[in-house]
């Protein structure tokens, strides 16, 4: 061995990193106390949370009145009165649908939600899915209307609550979809008249609020119809929603069409496909695939917008809740009612937005790999 002392003779064991940069403390330093201003922000936010969260938890859970309780019990309690939900949940969820028949909307909604869940799996995106939807919707309507097999007939003025909200949104998108495809194609058409018609329709609808369309449908539409032709209030609102969503969807689909490279059109024409065959077999399948995430987002918007039918007196989830909490005995507990349906709306919308983000990631990686 040499005497050159500066040569290390053995490898030193790894030292632990400084305690302050790893583990919990390290995480805290990196994420919460990184510099003076960040620390101040953290402290301020934490103070606000400490000030507000515990009372909120107390109000929401600890001091709340749960289950079947009279309004008097709520008056004495310091917390939320969930008894109002217990008392009114059937009215909130089903509106004025006959009480004994509530299993029918429950089953109908189960069918719809199963279909939606089923459609979320990309492996199921096949032609037969369209058939499944047609069957499912038919079953839904049959259940809701009844009038056969000893099921009593329930006219649709009595439909309400969550099934109505789901129905308006789902029919709104399902019917609007083909219409919007035509509109989108028309807007990109080479024929000036067709293009002008489509542009006018789309811009007109997108330029006015949905509520004005709903007003138009409920006040003007009856005047357009010949005597003796009646469209009931639900269908009128549905027509307004379809008109509205088809304009917005058309713009989404147009975005997809614009993203299709020119070569695809040229190739389709080169192999001798006519216009409709070209669109159906080559262009639209690609374009729609591209815009499925924004379509889901449009659907979220539409789902929230169905709440506007409350203004034209359709008993959707929102109006049913308002009717429920206008009961003089329970009027003081409107906040609980609103929180309840806010959670319902939130669950649906949040799930759909997460799903659309998931799709976006899926499609994005698919694009880069190719």
């Amino acid at each position: 061995m040499s005497d050159r002392a500066y040569v290390a003779e053995r490898i030193l064991p790894d030292e632990e990193p400084p305690a302050a940069s790893i583990g919990f403390v390290g995480w805290l330093r990196a994420n919460l106390f990184d510099g003076f201003w960040n620390s101040m922000l953290t402290v301020a936010a934490a103070l606000i949370l400490i000030r507000f969260v515990p009372p909120l938890v107390d109000w929401l859970f600890l001091d709340a009145v749960w289950g079947d309780a009279p309004p008097d019990a709520c008056r004495e309690a310091a917390g939320a009165c969930w008894a109002v939900i217990w008392e009114k949940h059937r009215l909130i969820l089903f509106g004025r649908y006959p009480y004994q028949e509530h299993w029918r909307p429950v089953l109908g909604m189960a069918i719809l939600i199963t279909l939606v869940g089923f459609s979320c799996n990309r492996a199921n995106w096949r032609a037969w899915l369209v058939g499944a939807w047609a069957l499912g919707l038919a079953a839904f309507f049959a259940l809701m209307w009844g009038g056969f097999f000893g099921l009593t007939f329930v006219p649709n003025v009595l439909w309400g609550g969550l099934p109505l909200t789901l129905l308006l949104a789902i029919i709104g998108i399902v019917v609007a979809f083909p219409v919007s495809m035509l509109l989108a194609l028309g807007r990109r058409s080479h024929m000036p008249v067709i293009r002008a018609i489509c542009v006018c329709y789309i811009e007109l609808i997108r330029g006015v609020p949905l509520i004005s369309l709903l007003f138009m449908a409920s006040f003007m539409l009856p005047l357009f119809m010949p005597t003796g032709v009646n469209i009931d209030a639900m269908l009128r609102a549905q027509i307004a929603i379809i008109m509205f969503s088809s304009a917005y969807l058309a713009e989404v689909i147009r975005g997809g069409l614009q993203a299709i490279p020119r070569g695809q059109f040229e190739a389709a024409e080169a192999i001798g496909l006519g216009y409709w065959k070209m669109q159906r077999l080559v262009i639209l399948p690609q374009a729609i695939r591209l815009v499925i995430p924004p379509i889901v987002n449009t659907f979220i918007g539409l789902f929230k917008d169905t709440s506007l039918v409350a203004i034209v007196s359709l008993t959707d989830l929102l109006l049913a809740t308002r009717q429920a909490v206008s009961d003089p005995l329970w009027r003081a507990y409107f906040v609980e009612g609103y929180i309840f349906i806010a959670i319902i709306y939130f669950c649906f919308c949040y799930f759909m937005s997460k799903y659309s983000q998931y799709l976006e990631r899926q499609f994005y990686t698919g694009q880069t790999r190719n």
Binding site: R96, P98, F219, P222, A233, V312, R322, R331
Partner: protein, 340 residues
């Protein structure tokens, strides 16, 4: 070529939309086997549905009486709850056959909305309700107050007129829906609520946590004659609705009640009662109905006094005295045209 074809098709379609034939409503109702009746979506005493979906109230009973006369069963009514904004469109478009929804008879409505009012079933006036603890006892003291009111009603216009005429100021808080306007008042958003006095009584009884906390001021600031309306252009149906209501008033005047109608039909010597109940004369036939029409109305629904007492009378939570709505023989305004 194609153009002309389309034009012909359109013309053919247009032909369908020609003016309604007189009597079309009666035929449609008979074919359907039910009267479509537009009612208020919730006003205790006038029209309100319980949790089983059964409708009760004075306006509701008017429709049930029409159904009893026309389709022989007072229960054969399809209820269409309507908001103040929807009611006229619903009647104009044929969505309902009769609008029985505490609607005020005014010239503008009669002349420009395409409808005919039939008979007044309730004489009312607009009033004010205030919380008792405000210590207000006259509408003249209301200057500067905030007033909750529902839009699209005669109430909204009367309110502006009254304050203008008396040189007073107020701040209107106008709501599109009845629900919202009454909730706002009971939440304390406004110091004053205004609508027809019967409506105030109904609200106080059904919606106030403690009815004694609210007072209805003595002034009636307008005339509010309320009654069912029908579409223009069908005189036959107009007559039927009119005479069904007269029959209930006539029945009260001659003491025919739900309880004694069978007995009177069998034994009454009074020619008026005999004509009313179809024992003599061909009154029903003239209307396009059968001769037992009024008998069924009284048997199934009752006379006007019974309808009134059951729904809004002194023994109900609404607790309204007959007042103007008493028979003319007792100093009121209810006066049926003679059935002969």
């Amino acid at each position: 070529m194609r153009l002309t074809g389309l034009a012909v098709a359109a013309a053919a379609l247009l032909g369908v939309s020609g003016p309604a034939m007189a009597g079309a409503t009666l035929d449609a109702v008979k074919e359907r086997g039910a009267v479509r009746c537009g009612v208020n979506s919730g006003l205790a005493g006038f029209s309100i549905a319980d949790s089983q979906g059964r409708w009760t109230g004075l306006d509701v009973d008017v429709c049930r009486a029409i159904a009893a006369a026309v389709v022989e069963d007072a229960e054969k009514v399809e209820w269409v709850p309507l908001s103040a904004q929807q009611r006229f469109t619903a009647l104009q478009s044929g969505e309902v056959d009769v609008l029985s929804r505490n609607t005020t008879w005014t010239l503008t409505r009669d002349a420009s909305l395409g409808l005919h009012f039939t008979v007044i079933t309730f004489y009312d006036g607009q009033g004010f309700m205030v919380p008792a603890n405000l210590g207000v006892d006259s509408a003249k003291d209301l200057s500067g107050a905030e007033v909750c009111v529902q839009s699209g009603t005669t109430t909204e216009l009367n309110l502006a007129d009254y304050f203008r005429a008396n040189g007073m100021e107020f701040k209107p808080v106008v709501f599109e829906s009845f629900e919202e306007s009454k909730t706002a008042f009971f939440n304390g958003r406004c110091q004053v609520y205004t609508t027809d006095r019967s409506g105030l009584a109904s609200l106080r009884a059904s919606d106030a946590p403690n009815p004694k906390d609210y007072v209805i001021l003595p002034e009636a600031i307008s005339k509010e004659p309320l009654g069912p309306a029908v579409r223009r252009g069908d005189d036959e149906w107009f007559s039927i609705v009119k005479w069904v209501i007269y029959a209930t008033i006539e029945a009260e005047e001659y003491g025919v009640t739900q309880a004694n109608v069978d007995e009177l039909k069998a034994n009454s010597e009074n020619p008026v009662v005999q004509r009313l109940l179809g024992v003599s004369g061909e009154m029903g036939k003239l209307l396009g109905l059968d001769n037992e029409w009024a008998y069924r109305v009284i048997k199934q629904v009752g006379n006007y006094g019974e309808i009134y007492d059951r729904n809004v009378g002194p023994d109900t939570p609404i607790g309204l005295d007959r007042g103007m709505n008493d028979l003319w023989t007792r100093g009121g305004l209810m006066y049926a045209m003679p059935i002969r």
